[in-house]
Structures are given as C-alpha cells and as structure tokens.
Subunit: 467 residues, 2 copies
Amino acid sequence: MNADVLARLKDAAGPKGFSVDPAEIAPHLEEWRGTWHGHTPLLLKPATTADVSRILSICNETATPIVPQGGNTGLVGGQIPLGGEILLSLARMSRVRRVDKAGANMIVEAGVTLAGAQVAASDAEMYFPLSIASEGSATIGGNLSTNAGGVHVLRYGMARDLVLGLEVVLADGRVLDMLRTLRKDNTGYDLKNLFIGAEGTLGIITAAALKLFPQPAEYATALVAVPDPRAAVDLLAQLQSATGGLLSAYELIARSGLELVLAHIPGAGDPLQAPSPWYVLAEAGGAARFALRQVLEDALAAAMEAGLASDAVVASSEAQRASLWRLRENLSEAQKKEGASLKHDIAVPVAAIPDFVARAIPAVLTAVPGARPVPFGHLGDGNLHFNFSLPKGGDGDAFLAKRAEVARVVHDVVHDFQGSMSAEHGIGVMKRDELLRYKSAAEIGVMRALKRLLDPNDILNPGKVLT
Amino acid sequence: MNADVLARLKDAAGPKGFSVDPAEIAPHLEEWRGTWHGHTPLLLKPATTADVSRILSICNETATPIVPQGGNTGLVGGQIPLGGEILLSLARMSRVRRVDKAGANMIVEAGVTLAGAQVAASDAEMYFPLSIASEGSATIGGNLSTNAGGVHVLRYGMARDLVLGLEVVLADGRVLDMLRTLRKDNTGYDLKNLFIGAEGTLGIITAAALKLFPQPAEYATALVAVPDPRAAVDLLAQLQSATGGLLSAYELIARSGLELVLAHIPGAGDPLQAPSPWYVLAEAGGAARFALRQVLEDALAAAMEAGLASDAVVASSEAQRASLWRLRENLSEAQKKEGASLKHDIAVPVAAIPDFVARAIPAVLTAVPGARPVPFGHLGDGNLHFNFSLPKGGDGDAFLAKRAEVARVVHDVVHDFQGSMSAEHGIGVMKRDELLRYKSAAEIGVMRALKRLLDPNDILNPGKVLT
C-alpha cells in the first residue's frame, strides 16, 4: 500500500488513533473460532465521527479499501481484513452520549459494548433488550451492522427494530446525521435501514439512537417437556395467548443437546424426572402485579391436559431461573466438548419448524450416516441452530470435510420452506456464494446497484456480502 | 398522451382492468379535504402483480408517468395525478392471501383496506394493531407507502414496524418477491424499508406479510386531568413502569379541544367534575388475569398524591371506554365545526413536548393574535396535532391565508427541537419545499440518488416527495 496514503491516514486519525504494532494488531486479525485470518498494514482507531469522516475521504479519494471492526465477534468473516485492507476499529468511539428516560431512548457510539449499553440503560432503571452470547465484547456498531438477533427477538425484535436514529459516515466521508430520537417521522425515505445489516459495505455506523423499555419487574421461566416440535409450536400460541404476548424467550432444545450438557458441564442436572425427546425453555416478563408465574403454571397445566406437554418445572427463585438458563446457554460449549460439529444458522416460518426438522434431519443423515442431530434455538422466531455432532467414535476431520455438502443439503431444504440460510449471523465471506444461489436475481440486482451507488470505488469492506 | 401507449396499457390491464369513464374516475381525482385536484387520461385497475409488472414495463419503456393510489385518504396530495399522469388504483388487488396463526402473520394484497386487514386478523383470533381514523377506506398499500402511524404506535410501532415481508414492482416491471414471513433473516441488504414510506416514488407495493399479535383480552382506559404537559410526560413514565410497558395509547388533550367537543358533538359530556387545563387519555391492554384496571387505578392514585394528576376516571365498562374514546376521536370533527383551522402534524422527542408547547404557542400567537391553540395527539410518541382554530369571531379566509406563515413558525420551532414537520402524513406535494428546508444536504443527496437509481425515467409518482 502506498506509503503516502498510509501517512495521510495516520495523520487523519491523530497520534493516538493508529497502530502499526504487530502485537496490538494481532488480536484484530483472527476471528475467534479461528476460521478466518487477515492481515493489514495499519490499524486505525478513530475517536470521533470527524476522524472517521477524514479517514474515509482519504480512502475514497485514493481507492484504498478499509474494513470496519467492532468487537471482532462475528462468525462469517465480515470483520476480518482478508485482502490486507486498512483495519478500522471503532473501539475508541465508546461514549454513551445521552440516556433519555422520559423519551425511553439513548444515544451511544459504535464502540460501546452491548453489555455496556445494557448497563447504561439499567443505570437509568430502563431496559435495553438486545442480548447475545458475545455481548461482553460485541459492540453496538457491530450489532447494528450485522442486525444482531439473540434470545429476546420474540418480544423486542432484531437490532434493526431497536433503532430510532443513526449516524453514518458514507464512503466519500459525508456524514449522515440521522440521530433523531423520534418515534414518528415521515419526512422522506428511510435511509437508516440501508446501513443496518449491511455489514459495513454501504457506510460506517458511528452512533445510534436506541429504544429503551420498562424493566420487567418479574420473570416467569419454565422448562417444559414436549413430545415433538409440533407440540412446541402449538404450546407457543397458547402461552402467548395466556400471557397476552409477554413471552420474551421461547427456546427449543432436543434431548440430544440436554444430554451433552449433562455429560460435559459440571454441576448441570436434569430438572425433570423422566427424559423427554424435546424441551422448551419459555420465559415471560412483566409487572410484578401480573403474577406471571401463576399465569404460566396454569397455562402449562392446561397444556399438559391437552397433551402438548408431559412435564414442566417453573422456576421458583432467581437461582432456579439461572440454572434453567444455564442448560440452554451451555449447549454450544457442551457440543464443542463433544467434538467436531457442523452448524447451520437457519430460519423458517415458525409453523414450518416441525416439517423442516422432519425433512432436514433424514436428509443430513443420508449425506453423513451416524451424524448426531443437536438442534436447538429460538423457536419463537423460527430460528434454529440446526447443528450436528460427529458420529459416535467418528473421525472429526472427516466429518468437518463434509461441511459444504451438508450445508447445501440443509440450506436447500430451508429454501424449500421459504426460509433463511443466515437468520442471525449475516453473509460476510462465508455465505457469499450461497447468497447468489438462494436470493432472487431481482434482489441481487438491486443490492449490487445500491453498493455501486453508495460505494462506487468499492472501498468499504470489499468482497463482503457481495462479490 | 400517446394513443398507442394508452392502448397498450389498457391491453396490459385487461378488459376489466381500466376505465376512461369520467364518472368512475372523478372520485379518484380529488383529495377528500378538497385541497388537491388532478386529472388523468386513464384509470388502471390491475388485479394481479403480473398486471402491475406489465403496466410498469410499458410506462418505463415509454417514459409515461404513473401515480399509484390506494384508498385516496392521504392528506398531502401524494395520491393525486396532478400532472395528468396515468392513475393506478390498487383497489382490485384485495385478497387476503394467507393468515398464519401459529406464525403470527398474514399476507395481504395492497388493496385490502386497513379495516379488512384488522378483520382478517380477528377472524383468526389474532390482532393487527395498526389503527387510523380513515381505516375503513385506507388500504394496506397506502398505509405502507406512507408508513402510517395512528393511536397504537406507542406499543406496536409504525406501519413499517409491522412488516415482515413485501412484494414490490420496480419501475422497470421487475418484481421483487420478498414476501417472507421470517422473524430473522440476515441475508443481505434490507430492501423492503426503501419502499415503505417512499410514497410510491421508488416502486409499487403490491402485497405485504404483516405481523400479528395476541388479542388483548382486557383493556384499562382512563381519562386523567393533568396540570400541564410536563406532568403528562412524567405520568407516562410512571404508567409505563406500572404496567410493564403495556400502554397502547397515551393521548394528550388540551381543555380547549375538549370544550369544542362538548360544544359541537351531540351527547358528549365532561366525565370529570372540575375543568382541567390538560387531559391524558391512557389505555393499556393485556391478559384478563393481569387485572390491568386495578393496576391503572392504583398507579393513578399514586400519581394524584404526587401532584401529577388532579382527577381521573377509569372506564368501568366497554361502553364507558367507548365514550372516553369518542371525546378523543371527535376532536377533529369538533374543530371543523368551529370553523377554519391551521393544522400541523409534528413530532419532537417526548421529553421535549412541554418546552415545545411553551415556545411554539406564543410564537404562533405573535404571528396571528387571537388564534386559539387546540393541541392534541399522541403524546406517547411525541406526536402532536398542533392545531389552531381561527380567532373568536375572526374571518376564516383571512386566517387560512396565514397557513404558510404559521407553518413556517411552527416548523422552525420543531426543527430547533430536532423534531419532524411530518410525523405521520408524509411529504406528498404539500411539504416538498419544507423537506428541502429542514433535511440535511447529505440526506437529500442520498434520497435523490436512490430515486435516480430505482426510477431513472422518473415515471413513479413524479414530483412527489422530491422535485
């Protein structure tokens, strides 16, 4: 890369705003599962929106490619400078600019971690509901650029749904100041949603105005044994009706996954007496006066009478609630300890989950006899982590060599159900080719046209999402 | 307009798909308040998405401008063929394609009325929360093209927030089939939000997948006397906290408005004993088990002790609830009967409402001494109908002649509070110039670029939103 350009970029970022120290840069170059590795001549660490604007102006003028990065927790390679691009870390833009309790919103910069944003909200006795496993490191900028999902989408929506306003720097350095906190504003085209979920390829998100909610005063949490996914779907409708739509989580767990947790996670125990082929972890939250625990218990009793559930435990304390959640949260870790696994981040319409599972599991077993299905995830959103562990006693590398073949099998079934082969994690580089396979030509055409329009010199995270 | 093009368009729409009958066309040419009048050589009435595709192909190829229209209830002229364009009514595309109770969604065509969509939902014992005064005539296509708001935005969001998927015909006739019902789908750029709220200038919405919710089993509704808008804002936070965020409406009413209703609407009565300068109409909905009425009564008792309210009535029956709502719903009608009025559809951050009212009313009274402020509206969203009636005994025409001057005064104050001069109604032709005044050059620049990209021949609702 041109030394003059590098010097100009360092100058634009200021003395504390860059690094060429390999030790400092190294952690930014590797994706945490180790799948993607990058390299860069320069790490930029701007502290202000004006810094980002100057940096992008130079990149655009000199056709210098640049990769934005938040907490480096993405799973599809979107945040890694695979082609030796300039690396732009937003980590120093970490101010909570304002928390407005009366207006139920806050303005935070891109580098604020998700956990930090949650704390800023709770410090004001409000609630920011976005919650994902990596929230300690993941940043708001990355969450919005990838339209993060997580366990509370059922009630509060995706990251996209939590945004009131956005500050974006365009490829040419122009700043789109759309940091409005309005609930209603019909003055022209909706520009902010172009940048949310675009993985840094259309502009750089530098700050956001986010919605806040009242803190749930009380939770009701249950682990429910259900005979099959169909019963789980029917139970969802019944619990939503009973709680007036206050379910904030509705997670499906196969017995195979629970057994991995019981085998590999110290202290984990089966809270129910008899094994069940499937489970649901359901949680509702609301005002203390609503006695949600009793509402949930009564609804579950009715569900058992109707044959939708065989057993259930409703948490009677915060400690018991936490232990139920640990079963769910340790599924990934337990599967990792079991050995090699093939994972798929898919969504289909909620009502199609039973048919999808019934078709996709045999299809995978035909491709890889003996593979062990460990499906779990956000049933309330139609989103499953449709995972498989290697055959008992099988060879891990041989199993992993089937990755592309199995993904094709799974995603073809997903496509038949008008589903998504990337429900939460995005496209990055990992799913670029599949995007072309499953997306209509018309949609791809408009996407490409938008990319050319907003980044004509192809400097913003080039090669990600679209080739 | 070229006779050959007209013939081709008629042919594309089919024998039942067009009209040149002045009597049939006339109601489509006038906006219902009588402000905007149009003319057209041809009314097209396609029945299918394929019809719309063929029609737009011809328009694009021949650079023939076309104006889409739903229920013709818009207030800013967006749906009127002011330049003699072809008129495209989506009214015949009125099928409810599918209601999916388990997945909590439905797919409806653009010509389904909002009331029809509400009924389709309730027939499945589900709830579609969008609600506006014109819902009997307004259509889903128009609701989405204008990103309709209404009284339930506080809890359920704008029309935009209720959309899972969209079917759109592009200017060149290509069909974007994005009718997915997924809650999570991170496969590429979000295209649907480009067309929602674009007032038919970027593409024609032909169908939508909409979110459904559990039906609230019980409502708690109160009319509360509050001393001032500041108390109303503080009370909002307290009621949201008490109900765990279940408020679905929170409307501010000035005494001046209530008095117009009492004077002009037969059967209307003041439900409270002593007059109050301001009122709030608050409503929460949820499961019957939550005893929301008692929750609301207790929260209001606490608010009265704290001086946030001086009196309140909580509806004890559905009839009483309806009579409280009639006071709110008749405000526009009562103001119409009082004579000429100047109206402003504005939003500011919720917490800024008191300061906005305190500054904007004197500013208007300086411009028009004696004008009578009648502010009311969706305080929970920071959205006021910031209206003024003519001075007592004043001349209506002289008052209306001040329209532009007063709008400038109001909107300048709105702008100072980082608000919106079109919270709900959009831009159309009415606010095109103001859009240029208040929107940043960067935003206008991106909007213009998007228009050129998606409609290079400027055939889609030309001259609306942008000039």
